[in-house]
Symmetry: C2
Subunit: 385 residues, 2 copies
């Protein structure tokens, strides 16, 4: 009886104080619900108020709130047509006041129970899951949410993003912004430097076009860009940071181009000092993300695009812990050794000391709002049929 | 872009300290894994160690551990035959070192993703789920685990118990022990009093038989019994508790009977001052459990039985928040007004001041270990076919 032992261990031999245990019932008075009162005969309410049947803690709540009760009509049993899954869903169908809530929890109960029937977890496996989630909640901070990381590392975040922001054929794929997005994006002219003097890394020139699905340039598109430096570290991770670095807002030129000078970013890990590190280790996975640059593109009439680009030279492209790396977002970054090209890119005479500049090019394609709406309608109708 | 806003809000404008973020990589040195090293050509390892490609935090981990990497060969996309679900499961199939772990997470990913596709959660619904689980972890204490309560209130705990402890036809159903089990069970003779003097509640006489599926009495069966008093409160909830009350171990007599004098228990709520209270409210459910008595029965050669009995006069039988109330465990409790019967039950002359004793009878049937083993084999073979 593992369960008994654990619950006993949870109590740890101490007494639960009456005050601790009952405080909620004395403080959580609820609004009067005349509808639910009307559902009952007085006999039924009297039964609930009978001190022979119902203890102090419940009766204290009855002043303002008569709960909805139902008779126990059928026994649920595995292997019959009326299982606990039917029982839970039937209860929710009768009691849940909100259609969407009912839809979500009916589906959740079905899939959660189907999962349990498929893997038949032992009590100690169930206990591990409870401990993992408890720890994940406790170890989450303002800077790192372990439940977000779990959702990311199970591919759930990427799936929900894809379901909510479907991309029409030919448009740039999206991926999640990650934790280093801030609201602080100083605006810089296209072609200028993203990296402040002294930023670590080899010189890089990034140049992109922003077009719609018809191939027309989207002038004036706003591009928020943020990236790690050559050590794989974001500005906000430096304790002595005084201003934004390696992040800016750039407005696309008349021809839909956006360029900037900066440093070639490198790969870095997601924080794996908490439960998510144990999760990844158990699955034989590492926490390392390929080098990348984050972008958020917005333009009137177009669907917002949050995405990231990855250089083909980076390791970890096929083992992204958060499943944000898509093939369509990977491109070759060229090594430019011709110093006359460096001048064209806007680098000063002494700025390139490594004998090369890394040239990263990409052509973004934005979907119009109408295109996304049409696609969502199409998906919704096909998922209903 | 709700996600961006939230993650931005999570950061709250402050900087993540480099020390905070990198500390894990500097402290979590791992054991040498020669197998994984051998999986790579030196070229591949060199690529991972190249400071142009890989940042400081990752390289710091490489001294003792070369992670397993895979190429990105296919793009995953909703509505195609290779979705993110295939992508995650393929990665796990290639990397996960443990068969059972792979089995559990493949099933989890399949069902979690199927759930997401079915309900298509909005970003803000996803955010609510993350916040709920984070809060559930943070608000769990030594005395109350909100993740256990969530598992209970979704019917998952009861389902796992039923899958792990299937009961052959005719045997008493099990249910979970709940949080008031302790290791402290003073042994008392059958027929004596469970309740110390001064315990709140109307007098009750409980009498049971313990038999096997052939109808033979199981003499010497150990019965641990624990219950709330007439106010719906357990001994451990009283702050001035000095010794065990309303809980004891009773050994079954030669004829398999077990009796005790005590107080009629009443209904009480599960603690709903935390997230689980919001969960129940959203679903139109209340936190109240019917009156009941807990039992744990053990006897050599028989499968342990943890269960509880419910009086038919109690409300909330059909709306148990933790789905532990089964019809087969509900029975009528008789009102005995004949004072000569009270004496037979062992009550003293002045002990019954209410003009009645409540008589609660039940016949427990224990499954033998062989019967349970045979049933588990049968279920396992039918679930494989």
């Amino acid at each position: 009886m593992g369960r008994v032992q654990i619950l006993s261990r949870m109590r740890n031999g101490n007494s639960i104080s009456l005050i601790q245990y009952l405080s909620f019932s004395l403080t959580s008075r609820r609004r009067l619900l005349p509808l639910s009162v009307n559902r009952y005969s007085m006999a039924s309410i009297d039964k609930m108020k009978d001190p022979l049947r119902v203890g102090k803690a419940i009766r204290a709540q009855f002043e303002n709130d008569i709960p909805r009760d139902l008779p126990l009509e059928k026994d649920f049993r595995e292997g019959t047509s009326y299982t606990i899954t039917s029982h839970v869903n039937e209860l929710h169908a009768q009691l849940c006041p909100d259609k969407r809530t009912l839809e979500i929890f009916t589906s959740l109960v079905n899939h959660l129970h189907a999962f349990a029937r498929e893997v038949r977890p032992s009590h100690s496996e169930w206990e591990k899951a409870v401990e993992y989630l408890t720890r994940a909640g406790k170890e989450s901070t303002e800077f790192k949410n372990e439940l977000v990381l779990l959702s990311d590392c199970l591919g759930l975040s990427a799936l929900i993003d894809e379901l909510e922001h479907p991309k029409p054929e030919g448009c740039t794929d999206s991926c999640e912004p990650g934790p280093f997005y801030t609201k602080e994006f100083p605006e810089i002219p296209s072609g200028s430097s993203l990296a402040k003097e002294g930023t670590i890394g080899e010189p890089m020139y990034f140049s992109a076009t922003i077009k719609n699905t018809k191939g027309e340039p989207i002038k004036g598109a706003k591009v928020e860009v943020w990236q790690a430096d050559g050590d794989g570290i974001y500005d906000v991770q430096y304790p002595n940071r005084t201003e934004a670095n390696d992040r800016a807002r750039i407005i696309a030129e008349q021809d839909g181009t956006v360029n900037y000078r900066g440093k070639l970013p490198t790969a870095y890990p997601i924080p794996d000092d908490g439960p998510i590190g144990d999760f990844l280790k158990a699955l034989g996975r590492h926490p390392h993300r390929s080098a990348h640059i984050h972008f958020r593109l917005t333009a009137p009439g177009y669907d917002d695009l949050t995405t990231a680009l990855y250089p083909s030279h980076s390791p970890f492209l096929g083992t992204d812990p958060v499943f944000a790396t898509k093939k369509s977002l990977v491109s070759d970054v060229a090594e430019v050794k011709d110093s006359s090209k460096w001048t064209e890119m806007g680098f000063g005479k002494d700025e390139v000391t490594t004998g090369r500049v890394w040239h990263w090019k990409y052509d973004f394609v934005l979907a119009s709002e109408e295109e996304v709406e049409a696609l969502q309608k199409k998906i919704a109708s096909s998922s209903k049929s």
